[in-house]
Symmetry: C2
Subunit: 152 residues, 2 copies
DNA sequence: GTACTTGCAAAGTATTTGCAACGTC
DNA sequence: GACGTTGCAAATACTTTGCAAGTAC
């Protein structure tokens, strides 16, 4: 079976881009840290371990390229930094996020909970939905059960 | 009946802050442009018309203060700028946004469509929701009906 | 007078751009 | 050899901070 990186390579080729070693290293870092929400700087530091000669600008350019191709989504959780999150293969909508205001942890919800809401938006507001971004702020399970009241 | 600005003044006082002329001018600009999604720079330019001597740093400080008090929400639509949006009085959740990918217009949905979704998140993921941010990307009614295919 | 607030300038971050050099077909 | 790509340095954009001066009670 074809690997994820192979399919990404084809997507790049389809758009007349090459999967250079720098780009490959960047994509690998994203795949290996799929659960995280890395900033460009984070990605840069991790890529450097594989390819020490890479420049920060290249990482930015690669991330921009991947965003354009909808391979990753650029998100912003309100701190001053953009973060990059791999989109599930073939997903037409971006997944949801849960941010804990106690511990700061960011969890993902891959199932799409907005089907009905999108129908309402379409019928009531005449707006054809193509994609969505949904983030919840609240208290995660482990902070609740540990009765954690230490403010981070 | 008490005006909105009066109530905001009380909120500030309740948190031991003053409604200085600069802060008042800033709040007025936000009230007068409630439909828009102004950046700090936008607010600064508009406030300057009322209070020419104000500094950009003061606008930033005021917006930060208002964000802290939950009078405004700081949002980011993916261009590099933070934007500031008045929260409805007494609303426990932030309102939703519809961004048209044709014309770029940003519309607001004040009714809360996420009640059921939040229940699912609470029961299925054990996450207690305190607030949410929901943005849709798609095609607005007027772009659809005008058959607008001019890419901006 | 004390404590909060302001304007300005400087500093700080994050991100983008210019450009010569490199690599690949 | 043309063209996409890269690394570095410089430039840009947005936001925050330091500080002396101003203001309100």
């Amino acid at each position: 079976m074809e690997s994820r990186i192979e399919r990404i390579k084809k997507q790049l080729h389809g758009a007349s881009y090459k999967l250079t070693p720098q780009r490959e290293a960047t994509v690998l870092v994203l795949l290996e840290n799929e659960e995280d929400h890395l900033s460009a700087e984070d990605v840069f530091l991790l890529v450097k371990e594989k390819a020490p000669e890479i420049g920060l600008a290249t990482v930015y350019r690669t991330l921009e390229l991947l965003t354009e191709l909808k391979i990753v989504d650029k998100i912003n959780f309100g701190d001053g930094v953009s973060r990059y999150d791999l989109r599930q293969e073939g997903a037409s909508r971006f997944h949801h996020h849960l941010i804990c205001i106690e511990c700061g942890k960011v969890a993902e919800i891959q199932e799409d909970l907005l089907g009905d809401v999108e129908k309402i938006v379409e019928s009531r507001y005449g707006f054809t939905v193509k994609d969505h971004w949904l983030t919840f702020h609240g208290i995660c399970q482990s902070c609740k059960s540990s009765g954690n009241d230490s403010k981070k």
